[in-house]
Amino acid sequence: MATPENKLAFDGGWEYSPAPESTDHIKVAKKYELFIGGDFVAPASGKYFDTINPATEERLSRVALASDADVDKAVKAARKAYNGAWSKMKPADRGKYIYRIARIIQERAREFAAIESLDGGKPIREARDVDVPLAAAHFFYYAGWADKLEYAFPGRRARSMGVAGQIIPWNFPLLMAAWKLAPALACGNTVVLKPAETTPLTAMKLAEAIADAGLPEGVVNIVTGAGDTGAAIVSHPGVDKIAFTGSTEVGRIIQKALAGSNKKYTLELGGKAANIIFADAAIDQAVEGIVNGIFFNQGHVCCAGSRLFVQESVAEEVIQKLKDRMETLIVGDPLDKNTDIGAINSKAQLEKIESYLDIGKQEGGEIHQSSCAVPASGYWCRPTIFTGVSQSNRVVQEEIFGPVLAIQTFRTFDEAVSKANNTPYGLSGGVWTDKGAKIFRMTQSVRAGVIWANTFNKFDPTSPFGGYKESGVGREGGLHGLDAYLVLEA
């Protein structure tokens, strides 16, 4: 237990001077059009919406609002490209285009990272070290599959689907675009992609990269807008497949809209992952895993380890260490290279998170936040933990999508499994123990698409990702990710 005699102090001494990433090298246009049929075209309605920097609330750019007519145009351009060059192209040549996109992302990595950080609020360190390199890695990985599809599914003939409509979220804008585009293109499909309305800029920079890569016109079309634009894609009769990543709530609406149509779909939805720490775990590394699990990307991660289960005998120790570790997390300017936790993505999301903080307190949970100061303007939430909560608390049950962790304790293996599975979600999980056998038992017992052992939030293009239960349908990444964009025939 922390007492005045054994309390560590992290503030008031040596502090890191600001180390902001330069933005001299980036180009953000005043206005972005729609990317349809290889051209940047104005929206039919003539309407644009603002995209703002959530760390300053200042406008970064204006972005075209795509209406039904624009979506129709984009789907037709995609169909034309599918029937034309793309589906008839030699698979190896298709692969070359995808490799080219990957290389351009690498060449422009600094620009992509800075814009991702500006538009979405995530720390430059994460954009630079995670989002952008992984996005390039996905294109590289799937480029390699383009001419090897017959080996991916032995004994079956793989055929492309046609036009894929893809709707992506705001938490990993460029990376999610890569997750969606790379396998779709490698499998010979053409695409209409809609980025999230709060984070459209890197998708538009990606459109520029795709244009520079010389992809045949119409193979990739990017339309910007909010829910209505997404709905127009989902309900368009010319779309053969829908791939959606976002909330379970919207996923349900999409599933309803698709019922009765013969459109294929994959849905990657919400999560409330259990991160389970046994007493025999490497405790200090497990504490890092907790931090990485819930505070990575401000907790705007569908697979975030938002429910912590700690074995009772080490709970006090783990929580004390976690609280001290939280004091060392730097919250602030996302462009500062030392920032650990950036801005909450939008005002709406901040309000949602804050409402959950109130709910948690009202339900009797004990809240603890790090003592750091946050900037006056912009959207911020200090890293937060709730103790004294149980399975019946809403902060334990519902996806908050912010830097908020609900902590419970357990005594036995079976209790941990039972609590971990007692959720409508099943996207991811984590287990921390020094015993290999316990890891295997846990991975067989927890119903989740991904389970990390002695680590958390690790991603690789070769590894499939996706959920059980209300966390979604289908898998992305790896070999499984190809399946989602192919029709397999005997």
Binding site: N6, A9, F10, W14, P18, I283, T328
Partner: protein, 308 residues
């Protein structure tokens, strides 16, 4: 639970209860420290802090009184063309050289550290080690850097190692005891963690990574594990134990990474020469070069900095 009582009684703790260490996780954490960007004022403050934490060291068979006097001169006059620089924390020498250093450093506020206990191997009977220690203290050492018996530790005889440290601690009297684990011979981070706990419970005022005679010497990985052990011991007892990575830290940049690690693991209270030291022979000049660069904007030739 308060272990303060245990501490005064010097009881060997149950080492099976020491937390396990996961090497992959340690490497990841270290990489995060290394990705911190320390610029401008924070860099200058760090460089000055590094200087003040150096145990300027010469531990060679060929050491002579003349060599030690040179070292002491350097310790007092790091780079006089930059006024207001801190002096190093201590000079670190063999017991036979303690008297020479004492005379050279009289009244300058620079501590004299002496290795003892049949440094670097520690392969001598306890009576010899105790005599070695007493002799160094009598000659005027403020700090004793002892080595643990790695053979006994690796063979599982932790009680032997514990008793030896406790006995040396008694022999030190008022001198501070730094316990060298020689992590390069321990093999795993789990053992580093256990040896750290053992040493602190046996009475160590400081725990130290290496003699500098075995590779690898100090690494950020072992230093992190030892700092986490120090922090846990502080949580349990409220007693602060110091940390000294030694050997292999020769660049200012690496030293600053160590300070970042210190800052984010145990916090501000440890960020003084009283609680953190760098055992190094060539670090000071690289730090001085960086300080001059920060002040003038240009790097000067190494020839402008006195070697010893």
């Amino acid at each position: 639970m308060s272990l303060a009582a245990v501490d005064t009684k010097r009881k060997l703790p149950d080492l099976d209860r020491v937390p396990r260490v996961d090497e992959v996780g340690v490497n990841e954490r270290v990489a995060r420290f290394q990705s911190r960007s320390i610029k401008k004022e924070s860099k200058l403050a760090a460089l000055r802090m590094v200087l003040s934490m150096i145990d300027l060291t010469t531990l060679e068979g060929q050491d002579t009184p003349g060599k030690v006097r040179q070292l002491c001169q350097k310790a007092m006059h790091l780079h006089d063309s930059v006024p207001g620089l801190p002096h190093v924390a201590a000079v670190c020498v063999y017991p036979t050289m303690v008297g020479v250093a004492r005379k050279a450093l009289e009244g300058r506020g620079i501590h004299i550290a002496s290795v003892a206990t049949a440094f670097p191997s520690g392969q001598a009977p306890l009576s010899v080690k105790l005599e070695d220690t007493r002799m160094a203290v009598e000659q005027g050492a403020d700090e004793i850097d002892m080595v643990i018996s790695r053979g006994a530790f690796l063979a599982g005889d932790c009680a032997f190692v514990f008793d030896e440290i406790a006995a040396i601690k008694e022999a030190c009297g008022d001198a501070h005891l730094k316990v060298i684990l020689e992590t390069g011979e321990l093999g795993t981070l789990d053992r580093v963690r256990r040896a750290s706990v053992l040493a602190m419970h046996a009475g160590a005022d400081f725990i130290k990574t290496s003699t500098g005679k075995i590779q690898p010497a100090a690494t950020m990985q072992v230093t992190l594990v030892m700092l986490q052990a120090i922090r846990d011991y502080f949580y349990d007892t409220g007693r602060m134990v110091g940390m000294k990575p030694a050997g292999g830290i020769s660049s200012a940049k690496l030293a600053i990474h160590y300070l970042v690690m210190l800052h984010e693991t145990v916090g501000n209270a440890w960020m003084t020469p009283e609680w953190f030291r760098f055992g190094a022979s060539s670090l000071a000049n690289d730090v001085l070069m960086q300080i001059v660069k920060q002040q003038t904007g240009v790097y000067q030739s190494a020839d402008y900095f006195s070697k010893d």
